[in-house]
Amino acid sequence: MATNAGSRRFRSDPGLVARMTFTMFLIGALYVAVIAVLIAAHVNVGFVVVLAAGLLFVQYFFSDKMALFGMGGRIVTPEEAPELHGIVDRLCALADMPKPRVAIADIDMPNAFATGRNPKHAVVCATTGIMRRLDTEELEGVLSHELSHVAHRDVAVMTFASFLGMCAGLITRFTYYSGLFGGFDDRDDRDGGAPAWIVILLVSLLVYLISFLLTRALSRYRELSADRSGALLTGRPSALASALQKVTGDIARIPTRDLRQAEAFNAFYFTPAIANGFSISSLFSTHPSLEKRLAQLAKISVELGQPVA
């Protein structure tokens, strides 16, 4: 009885899991196809693979430091930011996960991120802008979304997923330049076909494109998963929904800083084109649309609100 009620209330979304699995299957299939083609064509791309692996390893291993540096985040102690630490403490105790380091970035743009190669080396960072705009419950929703990214090891998953795309991108660039400057000996030219470098360029470009679209799709599914896990952890999907609206909606573009201080930044505020339904921009974006995220949270809210039997 207890487990029944529990699993009814906190359930995973089979549709989302299925779509994500299918995307990952396509990425895997692309890997296999590329490797098969490379073996069949006796192409030696060892150098590119090693280079891409090296770059991604650095990105994976130092993701926390790089992201903190990029956002200008600073690690804060519990004495400096008792409220932020208190929220993270409680969420970690609810989720039974080790507490990540907590950082604050002094930027008026409302944002938060979590990164790190595993839960033990994670850091969660909030900007002063988001802390000013959101109340405690909304901030808690955002932080539980970020902690879910840590728990799901999204840095590792996305690094692995983007490996092939990075290789293909590097090959494209190398081939383009070496072809441009006549670096390849054109053995295939005797048959009268296209030069080998053009074929390699086109194939790697195609692989890059497909892999780019697939990793973007995967990234959107991971965002939806983090929304779901985060909302279930706090039991308050509506708080996360309201935070999303504040952060990504129109309100986010209204500065909370004094006009005289913020004037220099006004040039950077812009209104993005609002896309209805399926569009090219939704294919390319790393985050699902606001409507999709709000719809999922509304569904979770209904599931949580089921009366006690």
């Binding site: 009885m1 207890a2 906190f10 208190g86 952890l233 949580l304 089921q306």
Partner: protein, 188 residues
């Protein structure tokens, strides 16, 4: 979390361990013998209230259950949005307190809100220094001491002393980073 859950990006809510609460009465005997700390009769359950009718209905049920019991119970909400269901009774009957706290816990868990349970706190005092709390983490099944000395200040030395005294009686949380403070908890 297993590999499959990582790959599929889903985390299962952690089930609470409720039974370890009953180890407290024997630990209290040790605590009184070694450090002179006695239970004050105050204990509380901290829970994150979920939104929606499900939790609200359950709260009504608990309120009725609690109201029937001579106003021993009170509910407070802290600044983080967590609810503390506090029971204050006779300092002498710790076993009774533990049974009541367990009743609150299990009614929440039975209704499917086990993942919303944060901790249980039982307050001890030696009459001289500020009160000290023993905090039970449901998700870990472990205990840790919390000795606040003022706003945002805690006495780590005293906490480590309690850990040393209780090592054999209770499963004390080994990871010190998880001894998170609960400032302003009821009874402290």
């Amino acid at each position: 979390m297993g590999l499959l859950d990582t790959i599929l990006g889903r985390s299962k809510p952690v089930k609470p361990d409720l039974d370890a609460l009953f180890a407290l009465p024997s630990a209290a005997v040790t605590l009184e013998a070694s450090l002179g700390l006695k239970p004050t009769g105050v204990g509380s359950v901290c829970v994150k209230p979920a939104e929606g009718g499900g939790f609200a209905g359950l709260r009504d049920q608990i309120d009725q259950l609690l109201a029937a019991d001579n106003d021993k119970y009170a509910e407070t909400k802290d600044s983080f949005g967590f609810s503390w269901i506090t029971r204050s009774g006779s300092p002498d009957d710790l076993a009774d307190l533990v049974t009541d706290l367990h009743a609150v816990n299990s009614s929440l868990a039975d209704a499917g809100f086990g993942p919303a349970l944060l901790c249980t706190l039982v307050v001890f005092s030696d009459g001289r220094e500020p009160a000290l709390g023993l905090v039970y983490l449901y998700k870990r099944g472990t205990w840790y001491p919390f000795a606040p000395t003022g706003p945002d200040k805690r006495d780590n030395q005293r906490e480590l002393g309690v850990r040393a005294a209780l090592g054999d009686d209770l499963k004390i949380e080994a990871d010190l980073t998880r001894w998170f403070p609960v400032w302003g908890a009821p009874g402290l």
